[in-house]
């Protein structure tokens, strides 16, 4: 099993939004999907996932609804709201910019050492 990484503060929400953006999905699916896409690097615990989902729903970024799932059992499906979509865009842009900046700093080679 690959090494797990801790997520930087506030990133979980972004990731959840991103996963939900792909289409309506239930909580278990979100965790599975995240693990799958990140090739097992990101393993989100239920203890973080569900509070985060509730928080996002409370802020109006996601909406939820119980309906039949692929297994035939009812599950609570989450879906992005327009506000959530805006939030995702803003946060993604923010994150990308920050990641680039971090990358720049980390890969920076001083003039004299070249």
């Amino acid at each position: 099993m690959p090494e797990k990484s801790d997520l930087p503060q506030g990133t979980l929400d972004l990731l959840i939004l991103r996963v939900i953006a792909l289409g309506p999905i239930h909580g278990y699916g979100i965790a599975q999907r995240m693990q799958q896409i990140s090739r097992d690097v990101v393993q989100v615990q239920q203890g973080s996932l569900y509070p985060a989902l509730h928080r996002l729903e409370d802020r109006g970024f996601v909406a939820s609804k119980w309906r039949a799932s692929e297994t035939g059992r009812d599950a609570k499906f989450y879906q992005l709201t327009p506000a959530g979509r805006r939030q995702l865009e803003a946060e993604t842009a923010n994150w990308t910019r920050l990641a680039e900046a971090v990358g720049l700093i980390l890969t920076h080679v001083p003039e004299e050492s070249r």
Partner: protein, 858 residues
Amino acid sequence: MPLRRLLRTRPSSSDIDAELLDHLARLADDLQLQGMKPEEARRQARLMVGGSLSLREQCREARARAIVDRGIRWARDVCRALRRDPLVTGVCIVTLALGIGAVTAMATVTHTLLIEPLPYPGADRLMEVWTVDANDGRTLRPGVDGLNLDALREATADVFSDVEGYRYGSVTMTGLDVPVTLSAPMVSPGLLSMLSVVPHLGRLLDERDTPETRHVVISEALWRTRFDSSRSIVGRTVTLDDESHVIVGVLPRHVQFPWQPAMLWRPLDDRAPGRTYAVGVVRDTLTVPARDARLDARSTHLQQQGVLEAGTRIGMQPTVQARMGSRHKTALLATTAATTLVLAIALVNVASLLLARSAARHGETAMRAALGASRLTLTTRLLGEVLAIVGIGAVAGAVVARVALTVLLHQAPDELRHSGFIAADTASILPWAILATAISAIAICLLSLVKPDLITPREGLSSLSSGARVGSTTRYQSALVVCQVALLAIVMVGAGLLLRSAVRLYSVDPGFGIDGIHVVSMDLPRHRYGDGPTRLAFMHGLKERLAALGSVSEVALAESAPPSGGSFAVEAEIEIDGRPRGTVRELPLVTVTPEYFATIGISLVEGTTFGATPDGPVVIVSRAVAARYWQGESPIGRTFRWSAQLPPYRVVGVAADAKHGGLDDALGQGMAVYLPFGSDPWPFFSVLLRSSGQGPSDAEVRAVLHGMDPRLPYTFETMRERLWTSIERQRYFSLIAVVFAVTAAVLAAVGLLGNAIYWTVNRQRELALRLAVGASRHDIERHVLLRSLRLALLGGALGLVGALTVAGLLEPLLFGVTRHDPWTIVGVVTTLGALVVAAVFVPARRASRLDPWRILQG
């Protein structure tokens, strides 16, 4: 969206549980797919998920925190907004405090006096029992002649659940530092318990107490002021009218029955000669018609028994305290109305200040709106600001009201203070403060938030870029200023009319001398001055001793001194020279010694004053009486009679008209009849002194009295003081009205100032352009001033029209002025003009100092 979010039902714990169970099941399924046995898979899944209880809590907490966060963010936003313009916030709060404070204080007073004058349970069913005229219901005399309280109680048992009685009276308390006269009702043993009074200390008077037991209860005020609130007061002995009495109880502060300030209650013996006032509690199941029907049946029955005189019946009227308040109904309602106008001005002020502020923040608001803040978010923030301001203003207003109430009570004329005023305390303020606050909050929200264009992003942003502002806000704000000035004009006209009336009243020529006249008044205790000769000896003795004082030139005795009336004949049936000449409602009777006219300075236009020993019944009439009944002929030697019970009086002189019954001369219309001071005078009397220069000092008078009877309380006043006191009511209400008018003026001035500042800031470019194309600084100043004056003129005109319409309500309070009084109107218009100039001067000046080039380039 935020509102929906707030209203959305929180997920139930079963919802969260179901979601977690689903998660668990899916995990177990996956583990099973990976090859675990079903049971093992479920166990493993439970282990991985952990305690579902704590997870459920975490989910709920995540939401709760979000709500709290939002609340804190909102509160922070509101506080920041309030702090950013401390001046605007401060002015709003002070304005509201004044408005809410004024209306709360006045409403409390009015409510206490008019609606709830008596702070006793079931006080609305408390009625005085009177014998009334069967035809017109006019009250004739208290109680029913020939029925003592027990008989009356029995006779009216189907109307009143209880009937008790009281008599007027006072006692002199000695043995403490100075002798004092205490207002001391005599009450039947059950009266206080009928009122459900619970004693503060000791007990009430009850059946055990008769006049012989000499038991008394005292008021809280007397206990506090004379006995240092001593806890061991019960059982203490005091000297009342030279006899020792035992205090058996102290009544609570609010109990002031049957009148105020009652200081001491004594047991009543209603079989002793005297007039007992009966008070009953109407049975609460009775409707008014049923009550009247039963009283009629009882009256008929009593008439058949020969107890009740024909043509009369048993009637009732509200208690004396309840009646006192309604006597001032017009004045109280008018002043309360004035305070509502003050509040209205305050509200308009706050609304327009907030409007100006939100318009000034137009750009910011528009930016927030464009960034995705919903309209509701912005509105809730504004609402938060309004509510915070109203909240703080209300608390400050309640404090203002409490202070104002204390001042109102302190300054109130005795007449008002005697009518249950004491019941107005902090607790009675609260409902009015809350009401005023609620009205304020709603009005401000309506006035300041119903401006939709304030938060439209498109317009807002475009105006941000162009630098222009929204004109409609300015117009709306100007309309508010016009309203304010109109309201102010109404308050000012009212105050002006009342003030003019008070001044007119005080400058009335009373027809007698004022300067150099002093009055000593006293009430001789009955037990030591029981009969006519003793009283007369004392009175003449005092008169002579006072006449011997160096500065005194003339001295006279009178039953009572002007301008406080004295006695008068009611429904006097006038008979002139033996011929009946109709009835006079109230004919003032002035009983005096012969020197009275010279002392007080009323000239005798005909005839002479009384001789030292009058020869038969003689009278001096006022010129008004002479003119009315003898039309130019001399009344000297003719006869005047005003009651069938009295002999005809021979007229010996005609005196110039004087206003004995008060400066407004409500009694008698200048008519007065002077009678010689008899051999059997009432125990109360006044000595009038005319003197040159300073006149006698209080110390000199005290020394004289002390030499005669050291245990006598008395008053010593100048005539000017008496006149000043006699217009107490008019002074009081005009003072209140003027204070409210000044408050209203200050508030309106703030409104005008704010409006002018706002307008000039918005018109900077236009003003700069005017300056650039050659307008002088003076022109600009005038331009700004004229604009405000135009608004004020419009408002003032509207207000005056309104004032002239409603001033009719004030008519009963006016004296010597009509409601169209031109001087008041001129005064109001001038004051308004001056107010506008004063308020707008600074912004106008500032506008004229603009640097056109900087503004036009910027």
